[in-house]
Amino acid sequence: MTERRLPFRTQRADLDFALQSLWRHRMRSGLSMLGIVFGVLSVLVLIGIGEGAKRETLAQIERLGTRNILVRAADLAPEQLQAARLRGSRGLIPDDAQRLRQLPGVVRIAQLREIKAAIHGLSRERVPALNAVSADYADLQRLEVQAGRPLLPSDQTERRLVCLLGGALAADLGRDGRPGGTLRIGHDICRVVGVLRRQDLGRNAAAPVAMRDFDQAVLLPLGADAAFAGGETLSELILDMGDSDKVPASVALVKRLLDIAHNGAADYVLVVPRELMRQASQTRRTFDLLLAGVALLSLVVGGVGIMNIMLVSVTERTREIGLRRALGARRSDIARQFLSEAVLLTAAGGLLGILIGTAVVLGIAYGAGWPAVLSVWTILPAFSLSLLTGLAFGAYPALRAARLDPILALRHG
């Protein structure tokens, strides 16, 4: 037989004994720490994914601009559209923009019209969004022109057939996608004057409103699209209020004005990024509270499991406790021995939870393209919480072991 090193000379004796004892009952130890494993796991996954989604959501709302009010044409079914027309509404039209411009506090209004027309020379799966926009639209949406020039007011007034391309679309088009290149839209030839910087928004199921993907868009000057678009209705107006604090007061005004102009037809939608931001942070508070609840609950459940198994262990080892007392162990020595075991158990559970949780979060981030957040500041509290659970729920069994009468303990069983 090989000699094992005596574990008696160092401060590690408690740890060594705890490890030995847990290893001896590894099935039981493993099962009893499952609660902690799942507790830490769920906290990590909830934080990791929730935080990622939250950041993305806030970033998107931010991109819409908190000082803006968006008016979008409602996506109506044919019969709804007919009902609106019967009421005398002509939909979202340039006249609305003219009226809204009269409102106090409106700095500028950008307009966008979605166009359906074929673009030649592109593979079938690529269907870029064709948008006619007012000259200041790109600026209001903080779209950067990477190469060439932006759309100018004169493009709009002179109805020039020029366009800006989204970064991804430009890259796909190759030589034709650069400034100076040309694009066939319907029966017309459109000259590319500029390319937008890529935004790479990624997918986000949690987006509070539909986001336009400008990476795949073609932007034409409003008015130049008359050749292939037909119709006067707009898809989106963006009101720049100059200051986000002026937004709340103006929202009701905008709504009243549009209701009058549209004869009460509900054929438009107001999107107020500032309001969305407020809602998002409120949702987040609720989420945080829920998260804390889940964490607490699962750790309590896990802790009760630990306490249970420790009580069993104390009962099983009553004679051992008596013997150790006879050999000179103080009550605190006995308490420490069992507490070490409980903490070791929860620490192992916590560690396992962190490992699995990290794998799950990374897996989701990779598989679903969902942004995931893993940081020391989520892992460290999760781990310390599991240690704390061990201390809290190991305390009672440890105390019970320490308080045993040595004589009765020796005679036990």
Binding site: T2, L6, F8, R24, G322, R324, L327, G328, R330, D333
Partner: protein, 223 residues
């Protein structure tokens, strides 16, 4: 070395007070080998527990080397058990998952400050095992040892810290007479080495090995 004056021990059992030891007086000098005889229920184990400070007397005085033991708190009594007393039990009380060597080393876990300077636990443990003739069985688990061997391991554990007092509670009770005799030989040789030895037994032939015999009956010594 130790002196007991008017020692009483009562228990409350099912609402009734049961007296186990009644006003005992006892004086044991350093280096003595005392056997305490008595039938089961005579209170001899309880007396041993009180002498080893595993139990507290209900009344009376217990002085060990002049110290009034009934005044000490639990931690101080633990320190006393750790350093000044060794216990040998009838049913060995070895930890089944530890090897013989680890069992013998166990007392060093507690208040280990007594390990003499320059001495090393591994060596001291080895010497204790050699002293009881089990140097070769050091890495065996209790389940792999015979009853006599187990009691020898327990004996080595009791004396590994060189306590001044060795308390043995029916040390041969679970052994056949030949093996029991070997254990008694070991106890005797330890006593000859200067260790004070108090042994509790119901067996007259075992008690005869002691230098002094006391008979305990219903909580009192026979005169």
């Amino acid at each position: 070395m130790l002196e007991v004056i008017g020692l009483c021990k009562h228990y409350v059992l099912a609402g009734r007070e049961v007296s186990v030891l009644e006003s005992l007086d006892l004086r044991v000098e350093a280096g003595e080998f005392v056997a305490i005889r008595g039938a089961s229920g005579s209170g001899k184990s309880t007396l041993l527990h009180v002498l080893g400070c595993l139990d507290r007397p209900s009344a009376g005085e217990y002085r060990f080397a002049g110290r009034p033991m009934q005044m000490l708190d639990d931690d101080a009594l633990s320190a006393f058990r750790a350093n000044d007393v060794g216990f040998v039990f009838q049913n060995f009380h070895l930890l089944p998952e530890l090897t013989a060597r680890e069992n013998v080393a166990l007392p060093f876990l507690y208040q280990g400050g007594v390990v003499k300077a320059g001495s090393d636990v591994d060596r001291v443990v080895g010497e204790a095992l050699a002293q009881v003739g089990l140097a070769e069985r050091a890495e065996h688990l209790p389940a792999q040892l015979s009853g006599g061997e187990m009691q020898r391991v327990a004996l080595a554990r009791a004396v590994v810290k060189r306590p001044r007092l060795l308390l043995a509670d029916e040390p041969t009770g679970n052994l056949d007479s030949a093996t029991g005799g070997e254990i008694l030989d070991l106890l005797e040789s330890l006593n000859r080495g200067g260790m004070t030895l108090i042994m509790v037994t119901h067996d007259e032939s075992v008690a005869r090995r002691a230098g002094r015999q006391l008979q305990l009956r219903d909580g009192r010594f026979d005169d």
